[in-house]
Symmetry: C2
Subunit: 360 residues, 2 copies
């Protein structure tokens, strides 16, 4: 042992692309007592023994070492929110190394993406954008007929987690009413508490923003929620067998049927996975006007092929699964590591810890 | 007299275009005890005697009657926020009829327009918008390099009135820090109170959102404000001789000089009037990169002619003075009338009352 106890901790970042030099500079400033090294590997590739054995902390996305190379590793942190792509790996099943996720870092960028799409649609941004390209000042308001704002509008958020809560926070500031939907009941204040990582200054830690909470995994409960007279429906659920094709023709019809007078028909936002809805039914609902529009960061399949009818469905705004993107992603994910290293040292519970045996 | 006391009150709307039938339906529901009639007149045209003399309440934009035709009029309400276009009219100078403005109705739409433009710029909406037109799914993140969010960013709001406050409210929800600037000092909680009309569920009535307040009408005070390390500067000042060309090359350089490391250069939003800034200096600052972009709903002149260099300045987003637009405008303006009719009846102070002799 001897000097070994004095050796610096080693934080290894295993990723499929180079980490930008300025990001590494920032990380070194964030972890002054820790050596930081990186290894670039193909998606899913095993981390080589000689690299893994030096690491005391591992930050990764799809790369893990063999269990026998993990003896120095005290923490494995994933830069993704979900861990489902790796929970069957031997490191999950055969070791007791604490594992943490980046759940919570997606709130601000995805909420911004969502609100941007709402406003682009409701304020007809494309009209003035196209006019500007033509250097045309069209003061006539007829071109912007139907422009409306979000004050007093109702947004239903299917899946009131870290992302849904930041959407709720901004929606409330815009003057909207927020309706939360969760799988399990949240009848008490403590059951509404968000104990995961939250980007400082954002979110709804206490769960006080919604005007009402709704729950259930059965069709009747979902249908009741869709009949509240919602102007917006946001889908921020995980994709599971239960949520696959959760929304289809029947659900879109229910949404449309309860629209208040003088309001635009409901607007759908999907930031979950393409398969949570019946995409053919979505296209039909947009064509019939049952839905006034949709913002989709996810489709089925991805990439969405050219010529697919979804590209040209009326009032649809599609982006290629980029809503979480931003220069803040990596630094925020490493903020969780920094926080957890302090917790490890003090023997406290970790934030965003994976609980072995719960299966997600 | 006799039966006259039983006659319904008469609310006359004088406007330059027809009021939509569904808007009139809504107004009749809002004022069940009042007859509502409309007159369509050219901009600035005098309301004909026989029309004006029947009115007990007048709602107008640019049309007023002759003073001798106002004997039945108990309230004149303007659908604009400013009244400066008519304060020299004899009705202002020679009568004592209560006059009210629509100050406050612009908060939500202009705040939405502002935040939409910020997010369109910072999240590079145009990239995915153009890709969608080509039915191209570009999953490669290189195309969206530099996308960032607003968390922790500083927004300075020059003119923290009804519009600035709703921008502040949404900015805070996005995780931003709000810095307020006003002409006169607001050192106490009561001096920060907004006593005008506020659309319910919006704004910052108490003035509690800013992390700090700044003030002054001299160059040194403005320059100090511009040196706070702002990521955003929003101009929501009235145009006066003092605010004409308030911002020019020197001010843009000061803004740029205090940008925090790793942050994009400041982004300018102008929702005031084109002439509050030196537009040539703005174009130069956009070209040099001192400003990372600008959202302009106002220009100098308006309409902005085709071929004007502002149209193609880097990262500029221009709309034709439409940021306040929306189906809610008229109904909200009439909410003020409804509130004030109750106040007249009860002998209370009116909301948004014009104070004769103050000159604005």
């Amino acid at each position: 042992m001897g000097d070994a106890a004095l050796a610096k901790e080693q934080l290894l970042i295993a990723f499929f692309q180079e980490i930008a030099p300025e990001t590494l500079d920032d990380l070194r400033a964030k972890f002054p007592r820790t050596e930081i090294s990186t290894v670039k590997l193909k998606s899913g590739e095993t981390i080589p023994s000689e690299v893994a054995r030096k690491a005391t902390y591992l930050v990764t996305y799809t790369n893990l070492p063999n269990p026998e190379d993990t003896e120095n590793i005290k923490l494995i942190h994933f830069v993704s929110a979900g861990l489902d792509h790796l929970i069957h790996h031997p490191v999950f099943r055969e070791t007791a190394i604490p594992i943490t996720s980046s759940s919570g870092v997606h709130g601000p960028p995805i909420a911004e993406w969502t609100v941007m799409n709402w406003l682009v649609a409701s304020r007809k941004f494309a009209v003035t954008y196209e006019d500007q390209k033509k250097q045309a000042w069209h003061g006539s308001f007829g071109r912007l007929q139907g422009v409306h704002d979000q004050v007093g509008k109702k947004v239903g958020i299917l899946g009131y987690g870290g992302i849904g809560r930041q959407i709720g926070r901004v929606a409330q500031a815009l003057g909207m009413e927020v309706y939360a939907y969760t799988a399990s009941p949240r009848p008490t204040q403590s059951s509404r508490y968000d104990s995961g990582y939250i980007v400082p200054g954002t979110g709804d830690r206490e769960g006080r923003i919604p005007v009402s909470w709704h729950h259930g995994t059965d069709k009747a409960s979902i249908h009741e929620f869709l009949s509240l007279g919602l102007d917006h429906l946001v889908i921020s659920l995980p994709l599971t067998p239960q949520t696959t094709h959760l929304l289809g023709a029947e659900e879109f019809a229910l949404l449309a049927a309860s629209t208040p007078p003088r309001h635009a028909k409901p607007y759908l936002t999907n930031i979950s996975r393409g398969k949570v809805l019946d995409q053919d039914a979505l296209i039909a609902a947009l064509k019939s006007g049952e839905l006034s529009g949709a913002a989709l960061d996810v489709t089925d399949p991805e990439p969405l092929p050219a010529e697919h009818p979804l590209w040209e469905a009326p009032n649809v705004q599609i982006s290629p699964h980029v809503s979480a993107l931003g220069v803040e992603y990596f630094p925020r994910s490493l903020d969780i590591v920094k926080d957890n290293l302090g917790r490890l040292e003090r023997g406290e519970d970790l934030i965003n810890a994976y609980k072995r045996g719960r299966g997600y």
